[in-house]
């Protein structure tokens, strides 16, 4: 608003009017003040926009932290992990040997669910999948951008627990992302576990760009 007022003032004063020759370069003190305030406002607004955009994209909201996706079957990690005490690797079988942790085949589910709760309506997609031999499509909960190359096996081999990234899935009735999985979170770990504990590029294998991007 201040800027607008300043403009109006400026246009009202024609260059030939006596006050414009009064030694302060052509603009009155009110005008100058207004323009200064306007400029400050623009800078502050831009800064605020930048900070809030950054914060927004780092926020749990944008990153779907704690938001459970809708799944074809309302699968409960709480039940399977905390109550039935299944090992993670029973279903995610290749986590220790391969970059991808792996999803269980429908056959794995049917190990139990061909008998247990088999008549429940929520298992219809499972039975359909087994019968028609079409894969079951689950909504992905944790996802990384395409330019990030991640390997489950080496993280497990280095002693990282599943929960370090995936959170306490044993307490989740419906599975949701526990951490935003931003690059900062990767680096927090990669930097702290480095021998030098320092961020100087080129001295630590774990902070090499090509460790994750190639």
């Amino acid at each position: 608003m201040a800027g607008l007022t300043g403009c109006t003032t400026m246009s009202e004063k024609s260059p030939r009017s006596p006050s414009s020759r009064s030694g302060d370069g052509g603009f009155g003190p009110r005008t100058t003040q207004g323009v200064r305030l306007a400029l400050l406002g623009v800078v502050l607004a831009a800064g605020a926009a930048g900070v809030s955009t950054f914060a927004y994209f780092q926020s749990p909201y944008w990153n779907r932290v704690g938001v459970a996706s809708s799944q074809p079957i309302p699968f409960s990690h709480r039940h399977h992990v905390s109550e039935v005490h299944l090992d993670c690797r029973f279903c995610h079988a290749t986590a220790e040997t391969s970059p991808a942790a792996g999803m269980p085949s429908v056959t794995t589910c049917l190990t139990c669910h061909s008998q247990l709760f088999a008549r429940e309506a929520m298992f219809i997609p499972l039975q359909q999948s087994a019968r028609t031999r079409t894969p079951l499509l689950w909504a992905k909960v944790n996802t990384l951008p395409d330019h990030v190359i991640f390997d489950h096996s080496i993280h497990l081999a280095r002693g990282l627990a599943c929960a370090a990234c995936h959170g306490d899935v044993g307490s989740m009735a419906l599975t949701a992302k526990a951490r935003a999985l931003t690059m900062r979170q990767c680096l927090d770990c990669h930097r702290s576990s480095s021998p030098s504990g320092h961020t100087a590029p080129g001295t630590n294998l774990l902070t090499n760009c090509s460790t994750c991007h190639h």
Binding site: W62, R64, S69, A93, T94, T97, S98, P99, A100, G102, M103, P104, S105, V106, T107, T108, C109, S129, A130, T132, R133, T134, P135, L136, L137, W138, A139, K140, V141, T143, P145, D146, H147, I149, D151, S153, I154, A157, R158, P201, G202, T203, N204, L205, N208, C209, S210, T211, H213, H214
Partner: protein, 943 residues
Amino acid sequence: MSSLNPVHSSPPDRAPRATDEFAAGASVWRDGIERRDFLKLMGASLLLAGLPACTRRPPDALVSRADPPGADAIPELQWYATAVPWHGYARGALVRIARGRPILLEGNPDHPESRGALDAVSQAMILSLYDPERSGSPRQRDAAADWDAFTAAWSAQHTAMSERRGARLAILTEPTTSPTLIREIHALLEEWPEARWFQHSAMPEYERNGSVDVDLSQADVLFTIGSDLFYQHPSAIRHVADFTRRRAATVDKHSGLRMHALEATPTLTGMRADRRLAVAPDRQAAVLNSLTTFFRGEPQTTGLSSRESEFVRRLAGDVRKTHAVAVCVVGEEMPAEIQSWANAFNAQFGATALRTRPILRSDSDPACHGGLAEFLDALASAEVAIVLGANPAYASPRAAATTEALKKVPFTVHAGESADETAGASIWHLPEAHFLESWSDLRAYSGEATILQPATRPLHEGRSLAEIVHFLRTGAWQSAYELVRTTWRSFLGSAFEMEWNRALQRGVLAAPTARPDSKSPDFPWPVLAGRAPATGLVVLIRADLNLHDGRWANNAWLQELPRPFTALTWENAVLMAATDARERGLKSGDLVACQAGDAGIEGPVWILPGQAPGCVTVHLGGGRARAGHVGLARGFNAYALQDPVSPWTRAGGSVRATGRRQEFASTQRHFQMEGRDLVREIRPGQTLRSVDAAQPTLLPAWPREGYAWAMSIDLDACFGCNACIVACQAENNIPVVGRDQVIREREMHWIRVDRYFTGEAENARLVHQPVPCMQCENAPCELVCPVGATVHSSEGLNDMVYNRCVGTRYCANNCPYKVRRFNFLDYRMPADSLPYLGANPVVSIRERGVMEKCTYCVQRIDAGRSAAERAGRRVRDGEIQTACQQACPVGAIVFGDLSDPASNVSRRRRDPRSYALLEELGTRPRTTYLARVNREPPGGEGA
């Protein structure tokens, strides 16, 4: 240390640019829309593009497989042993399967004709698997049909055919070694004795020399006459590997295996010779006759030029050294009388280096009724004609006659991987399965068999040729798996299942015992009839080094792979000696009408050092009339010049300027070293300054903790076969950019092979220099990147971070080695396209506006390091191989850890031949070279 004197090769069609990184106008957008308009549009679309970003990304899907039990996840990486068909012969290979899809072909170390390496063309077959234009379903009169329709159509024919015992049935195949296919063809001929079987191949007759095979590991002198033994030969990899091993053992001596080459047009083999004589075909008889006089003890060099007599004297001197074992290898394109001269040569000097091999390709099968000419005769009275795999309507000197004859036959069937020219002349076209999606079997040139196992489920409805022949005979379909097992049940004996599984695992089955040819042991020296000096030019017709007889025309990797001598892509040219061109006032790029007899073609001239005066060379494979959009009408069709009687040489040719010009899509236009020691050549025993001492620097030394990756490239081994380029392309998802983009110098290969001609123009020798990223320790590119997109890793790699790159191209401008490649356009393949399935899943696919370059295959380093860490040890030397190293048939490339003084690469770096490219710049490259060795005794023409 001596640098080489470069020879002007074909003058580039633009003035050589020694200073600019990018071609003039390289960054200009030329796709029908002006840059300004584009920016306006971009501005608008940027605003719109911002909007969708305000919503969160929909989650991707995770897939739970419905079956199978016991295999919950597709293994990340698998290897299967198989073989790549090379004109009917097997070339042992391992196919790498990532997440269920074949992505890479590598050599099978257990296979005697592969030894862990694979040539460029064989590697590129992985792209053909995913070719969207590969034939997918049967076609009837060029309209979509299906197998049921063909089955029905054939069953009507089948009854009649059985009644007349195969009369008026003509079958044309390519020569093959496949025991199953041969068994099925024989079964058909037995059941229908009146049927006629013919064979046609547009490639040279590789079986011409019968059961005689040379063993270069036993030879002291190798003399090649127009032969491309090291590249265009069924056992090329074995020969060049043997040759290189012999040469490497004597790298610091003048002794060791010596090589002489007599040829008219350059071959990769001839260019490796210590002495090479380029003479036109009509002079070769005179040279060889003179050699005969030397061997008979009454030397005569009358009628020879000084160059020719010098060559004869030197060769005769080497051959007649005491106890020297000398072998002579003659190109399959040469006249038969030269082969008989070579037989006499080998009988006298080379007996201990000759081996017998079993003759297993069906060329001289007694059940076969002849070649294409006889097939065409048979078509006149045939009612059913069946062409399996071959494409005689394009790939033959009788293409037009074949088309005519086929169209007159009432029922014609063509089976092949693409709906090609012959398919166009036939009523039915049946899709042949790619070798990676079907069961089959093949034998190597030396006789070892391989059972080819499918690496993927069929992408289309293709069926193997053996299945089709079986169906033609019986009228019922049987799976290729059953057919192949039936064949091998009789070979493998009692413990069949065990032997079968072992055969599949190893990929090699022993060769049957060879019987020597029943030729008389006495080979008299023939006196070769010197041809009268030809009037006009001799036209030499050769199979293309990338496209062979044209069958790979739709393979974009092979189209864009620079030809070894010209660096030409996407087209062929009329190769000509500089003196001939000067006489006719021709320059490179002039379109000429090349005439021989009543046939002629029109093509651009390329002036090639090393080409003998008096002859021009044209390559087959261009000018396809029916191919996919990659291969359609690229270059000219040189079959038009072929004479059915002597397909490889045609005298009485002429070349006439048309007044028009053509721009070449060549990847190397600058053949000068500008006075710098880019390729170094030393005498045996000479020493270069140590690499590390030669590069003083004020900057602190790079800390070498942990691994320090480095590479060494032996220029004395490299013979320019381009295998590294294709291996890199497959491993690193490198896009093909197309002819227009190559002309604008936007090709994307991460490793290039630079070529420099040296010596005198007519007898020029060619030196090759593969140039990947040097991974400099003091990298000039890193200093100028404003966004830190190229940074150094702790292991000495010069990392390129695609997601940080904003495309300033400063790094490419500051790179003295010019190894950085920029994505000027969006070259990504769509995620729903077939080629995307063949992409390496652990390498990012780069988008538009991003710089990229060789990474030393950092994904392989990561995988190797992770595997070692999981096992709690250090990476062993040689455990991690880069893609280019893996593919190299001569072991020119070595990669490893410099911090381990015992590693192969450390030892090479201490070698007296080791040097760094442009070491005076102080970039301290991690990639270094071993100088070439000139073994020619001092005083010779040599350097």
